[in-house]
Symmetry: C2
Subunit: 536 residues, 2 copies
């Protein structure tokens, strides 16, 4: 939205005090969610997402009662708002906070899960719905709609599982779940956009190939743009030596350029999600090391907080929105249809995930020599479970596809919206509630059941490479890198091909990238002197 | 704006990619401003505001050329947007970062400048314009319009001067300029709202008294609300011991509750500016000390950065908007009228400020015993100069008053808008450019010309009261407080009545407030233990 639009909206809506009231109520609810989420932190079942959903549901009920059953929401969801303001901080933060070492160590497995897995899942859900839905007599759906359904329900939401896993205890599992979640988000949105922007009315090999090519170039160009903006930001801050003058300016520049990468990608019809994710990775690898210590602490936590607020916002809204009378009124006559549709979707989601996790894990295990590094059956189950939840991305995509700018018109579309909400609610609440107990039972005292990866045994070596007093969140990762700079032997190449690739990347990084763009090692002197001035 | 409105706007505007383009361009310009502002930091003349204004003007010219002279802006200014999203972070940050000791030491002088001074300035500008404008034949204006003009042009923008003064070198002067700026912002907005919401068609004593009472209650209630929300936030964080669980949650709660205070005040038709300013003061005095060290650093810089971005945003916009063809077309026939109006306003602004600074400084000096503490003639001149610039608040108020939702309809209104923009441009650019050289010339090596206040001589004593390793930006101030807890003698009472009031406040604070709401002293144990876990 531009301000021009907002302004028009102001004129059209007439009364400004109305919107102030809405914003006030929403800000109050958000604060409430945070406090209650904190109070329930220690419980065995709940987590922040579920709390926000339940508070949303509760508020929806209240509004429904006070408005005499006509309205359940404070604000109406706008998928543009979601994609322009709420999603970017979440995805950027994911890229910014990802433990890059683990991520790139398991890069092959993660991308195979995130890309190939999502495509398999997409194919199964699309095919399944296109076969099963016609039996239910829910109204006519095009082939495009089924494909869109596949994309919508391949978008997982693994936040819930991540809150239970511990990065230190189970690094491999954590990076698999986290990495898959991010790549999956990107893949499903890219897939969804490719589907909606593409004429798929008569499918043939030529169109299929063109579609695949389109998908591929979108992927590459988006990644490239993100890397470019990240490097540009690092270069600017390094060259102009920002920290000398103003901490606030550095922070502002990091934030604005991160957002700029996203919005530029959207403007160019690329995938903003992929762009901002890679921009986050590059920024945390280069730009973040060029700023003052104050800026490092601030950006780290600000990005995390913005992402956190955006997530709570979304779940709060989904909870409130799920009681929207208008949507439910369409399926008043046939509630059993909605239940059947939701059930079919849930089963397809489960089957779709199982269909790629087992074979892909098997393949991934073939390339891992050490038993300790293999993805065991318990880990496979955890990854499978982590991806069962459906969340904000699914809801936003469903709104984008099945509502004419916020209003649900056709009965079939209304049915798909309510079913999406049902699937999201059910999976988040029921599967979500089961997650903590299940994972605790599956991986009791997880540090025993999950064999520590070779990285952690190397950790004691890192002390020397550490800049003193540099309480850098990346220190572990970057320090880990350092140990690899010893000459690679043939044995090492045979034993760990990934590590060897990593070794050459490190060499390239140290020789060409860091001198230009900065990074943990290269600017230690600059950071050191700049850190003298403490927080003022 | 609510999302409902945005959504309607989406429907009405039809094309979403348009707004994405606008946002991308604006984000790019903002980043550009920051980088260029940094490069020009060292120059003798320019500052961030002027840079943003000039970049805005430049971009406006470019758009004007490319659009063939029909449009100069990317976005259209919406005063709602300004008051709901841009102003709160600026004012909150002002309250949050203010050196409370200095602020409350000079509280009487600051409030007399900020409230009484603004009222005098308002009266002179209103009276002057109501006498002089009818001579220019610019069209009919009501008495309410003249009063509104008075309020619009009493709102100063002292950012420029503050960038030149140094808090350490000239603490008294800095706190006067800063304090006056903030209280002035609040007063003029409260005054403006009181004027526009009040029927002043036939003025008499009864209505005058009612108006004064209205103004007074608005002031008190707004302040009270801000203090209440700040204390509530401190109480929640202290009681629930947030830091134990999540840094992000603390930061999110601080941000949301700060914003909540503003938006609640707006909802209740109070002055959000006053509320959020006092909320900022209370939060930095209590709540800020209850959170982890990480959260302290992050909130401090995040608030500053948000305020910074909002300021640059505003100046960038004002620069772009000042080339709006539509507005200038109204005064095409009589450009000399616009020049005269602007000139009259500039002269009245100068006279209005002089009219209160001289007498109020004289009164203030009467109560100050030590010559070192007195406000000298050079200081008075600096305070006078600091308030000559007009900025975003003036523009926003002028838009609110003289445009029917963004469109300038009447010729007289269009003239006043263009004159406001001219005054803002002229004062910011010309006075702004002169500020640095002028103050350097007036206060050469400022630490000599401005006698250091008694506080600074006490500073060496503070070491003992300091928590080790607590590199707290408030340490100086809070430490300064501590030294006052020695018993006050009669001499002390006679010599420095303000300090004595301060002493009793400190006693009250220590005995009743800190045990409940936390603060720098009371939570040293909690902060100490919590700081053990470094940034992760």
């Amino acid at each position: 939205m531009g301000f021009r639009n907002v302004e028009e909206a102001m004129i059209s809506s007439g009364e400004e005090s109305e919107s102030v009231k809405e914003i006030a109520l929403f800000a109050g609810l958000l604060s409430g969610c945070i406090v209650i989420g904190h109070l329930l932190e220690k419980t065995r079942w709940l987590n922040q997402s579920i709390t926000a959903l339940l508070i949303g549901l509760g508020t929806g009920c209240l509004i429904l009662l006070t408005s005499g059953g006509t309205n359940s929401r404070i604000l109406e969801f706008n998928q543009e708002f979601f994609f322009i303001y709420l999603l970017p901080p979440i995805i950027f933060n994911a890229g910014f906070q990802v433990k890059k070492k683990q991520f790139f160590r398991n890069f092959t497995t993660i991308t195979s899960f995130g890309v190939i897995g999502t495509l398999i899942s997409f194919a199964i859900i699309s095919f399944g719905t296109s076969r099963l839905f016609p039996m239910l007599d829910i109204g006519y759906l095009e082939i495009k709609d089924y494909l869109a359904l596949g994309a919508i329900f391949s978008a997982t939401d693994s936040v819930c599982t991540l809150q239970v896993l511990h990065q230190e205890e189970t690094p491999l599992l954590y990076s698999l779940v986290f990495g898959e979640g991010v790549v999956n988000d990107a893949t499903s949105v890219v897939l969804f956009n490719a589907i909606t922007n593409f004429d798929l009315s008569d499918m043939n090999l030529h169109i299929g190939l063109k579609f695949a090519w389109n998908f591929f170039t979108l992927f590459i160009l988006s990644t490239f743009l993100g890397v470019f903006v990240g490097l540009l930001c690092a270069f600017i801050i390094r060259t102009l030596y920002f920290g000398r003058h103003s901490t606030d300016r550095e922070i502002a520049l990091l934030m604005l350029m991160a957002y700029l990468s996203y919005i530029t990608a959207e403007m160019l019809n690329l995938s903003g999600i992929l762009t901002v994710f890679f921009c986050g990775i590059v920024m945390s690898h280069y730009a973040w090391h060029n700023v003052t210590h104050r800026s490092q602490v601030t950006t780290k936590h600000t990005f995390a907080t913005m992402s956190y607020i955006a997530e709570v916002f979304i779940f709060l809204y989904v909870g409130m929105d799920s009681l929207d009378v208008e949507k439910w009124s369409f399926i008043n006559g046939s509630p059993e249809k909605s239940i059947w549709v939701s059930l079919i979707l849930l089963v397809l989601i489960m089957v779709g995930r199982a269909a790629f996790i087992l074979p892909l894990s098997f393949l991934s295990n073939l390339s891992r020599r050490e038993t300790a590094e293999k993805v065991g059956i318990k880990q496979q189950f955890t990854v499978w479970w982590a991806g069962l939840m459906r969340g904000a991305v699914s809801v936003a995509l469903a709104y984008k596809k099945f509502t004419g700018s916020g209003k649900t018109v056709q009965p079939a579309n209304a049915l798909l919206i309510t079913s999406t909400i049902s699937v999201v609610l059910f999976s988040t609440v029921v599967f979500g509630l089961l997650t903590k107990p299940l994972i605790r039972w599956l991986l009791p005292q997880s540090d025993e059941s999950e064999p520590s990866s070779p990285t952690s045994s190397r950790l004691p070596l890192l002390g020397n490479k550490h800049e003193p007093g540099n309480d850098d969140p990346e220190a572990e990762t970057e320090g880990g890198h350092r140990t690899l700079t010893t000459k690679p032997s043939l044995v090492m190449l045979l034993n760990s091909p990934t590590n060897t690739v990593h070794h050459y990347w490190r060499k390239f990084d140290d020789k060409f990238m860091r001198p230009v763009f900065g990074g943990s090692g290269s600017v230690s002197n600059a950071t050191g002197t700049r850190d003298m001035g403490m927080i003022h």
